[in-house]
Amino acid sequence: MSKGDGIYPDDLKYTKEHEWLGLQGDIGTVGITHFAQSELGDIVYVELPAVGTAMVAGEPFGTVESVKAVSELFAPASGEVVEVNTALAAAQEAVNRDPYGEGWLIKMRVAEPGETAGLLTPAQYRKFIEDEAN
């Protein structure tokens, strides 16, 4: 299987650090991609910021840990955390099973919803991970 064969929904935008951002108005939902969860393997712990925390695009905002590795999470946009997926505390495996659904991490109010153009489209992201693998 090629690295780009994962699932990358069309309505999301992607970072080179393997987060996704789904925007509805100025509220963005953030998670990690299919590729990221597959690379990490069984996720056993997720450390997320509290509601109200300021997010700065490109800066770390939390960590995901699998059995074998720990990986930092990077903010896809600047803004403020408005909701945290607290269900993950007892069911981190949702990030592996359903990274774009039940496995979402946080919701944030995006400061400048018009300024997320620097993020990757699904096609760009797919190409990015294929290039990285080679």
């Binding site: 393997g41 069984d42 056993v44 712990y45 450390e47 840990e65």
Partner: protein, 368 residues
């Protein structure tokens, strides 16, 4: 760990693993599967049924001749004279300081015929070390390329392997071995392992390894066997508190510090490192490798600092989620005064202090 340049080496099973869709990583200079399905599933399969591991990256060194026992006695801290033919033990090649050149298994195949199993990343170093100390009437051969190794581990291991060999596995005791055929392939089969479960390690010619591996998977299917990678091997060995060279032990840690006093036989006579170890036995080691459980969330990993009252006092050597014990566990070197079970310490996890408590080990012990 390994610093060898060049492309990673491949075991005889590499092609099969690619077909099986294993996730392959570079480990100690070898391209090895880290997992096939999921580390957690593979871990639970070994605890509850069986798992098969390719560990062909491990090194094998033959030491033979009239001077073989004398050479091994002089290089290792355990007493190889106590080994009967058909018996193996865990021991260490020790430095002049009583630290680890490597931790190894010694198999006695005959009065003057020994088979040493060493860590993949240390094979060349160990061979050079042993050959350098070899004097007359002894032959030392790095036979690593002549042996593949499979580990079949778990409560169903005996049942599965018995269907493929006429060897009397049932009466084989822990750390004993026999030589005979497994699916028609001449092999060494020992009741040993690195998981804390019952099981066997099978040494066989590389050309036959893929067939035997497949045969074991087929024979084990009805018993719930799973192909397992190095990820599960690591969580399994850590729950059983088995040391990993390069993480928990190396040339800077003594055998006593590592808590492996049971492999030190000072009374057997002289060996490299005996002096410092004899002194350390008198005084007790200044620091000890202890097991800990996390009281706060997060996993402590290799190299994280250990604190006591704000002062840095030690270092984590291994850490993981223990899938069977269902706790975040690890090993760390701490001063002896802070090594008693129940001692509260903290570990710096990416800038935050996480509380831990020293606990008795092993974290997991199977019911017999």
């Amino acid at each position: 760990m390994d610093t060898q340049a060049g492309p990673p080496k491949k075991t005889p099973l590499n092609g099969l693993f690619r077909e099986m869709g294993a996730r392959l990583v570079d480990f100690a200079g070898w391209e090895m599967p880290v997992h096939f399905s999921s580390i957690l599933e593979e871990h639970h399969a070994v605890r509850g049924a069986a798992g098969i591991f390719d560990v062909s990256h491990m090194g094998e060194i033959h030491v033979g001749g009239g001077g073989a026992l004398l050479l091994i006695q002089g290089l290792t801290c355990n007493d190889a004279a106590r080994l009967q033919t058909g018996q193996a033990h865990y021991t260490a090649l020790t430095t002049e300081k009583g630290t680890f050149v490597d931790d190894i298994l010694v198999y006695r195949r005959g009065r003057d015929d020994f088979f040493l199993v060493v860590n993949a990343g240390n094979t060349d170093k160990d061979f050079a070390w042993i050959a350098r100390h070899a004097e007359k009437d002894v032959e030392v051969v790095n036979a690593s390329a002549r042996w593949a190794q499979l580990a079949l581990q778990g409560p169903k291991a005996e049942t599965i392997l018995a269907s493929l060999t006429p060897l009397p596995l049932r009466s084989m005791r822990y750390y004993h071995f026999l030589e005979g055929e497994v699916r028609g392939v001449p092999s060494i089969v020992s009741r040993t392992g690195y998981t804390g479960e019952d099981g066997f390690e099978i040494y066989l010619p590389p050309g036959a390894a893929a067939d035997v591996y497949r045969a074991i998977l087929d024979a084990g299917r009805a018993h719930g066997i799973r192909p397992c990678g190095l990820g599960a091997r690591d969580t399994l060995r850590l729950e059983a508190r088995m040391a990993l060279y390069g993480n928990d032990i190396d040339e800077t840690t003594t055998v006593f510090e590592a808590g492996l006093e049971w492999i030190v036989r000072l009374e057997k006579g002289d060996f490299i490192g005996r002096g410092p170890l004899a002194r350390e036995q008198e005084t007790g080691p200044k620091r000890r490798l202890v097991g800990f459980e996390m009281l706060d969330p997060g996993i402590a990993r290799h190299g994280y600092p250990v604190f006591e009252g704000g002062r840095e006092v030690g270092t984590v050597t291994s850490g993981t989620l223990g899938p069977t014990v269902k706790k975040n566990i690890g090993l760390a070197y701490v001063p002896t005064a802070l090594s008693a079970a129940g001692t509260r310490l903290s570990i710096g996890i990416r800038g935050r202090q996480a509380a831990v408590v020293v606990v008795p080990t092993p974290f997991y012990k199977r019911q017999r």
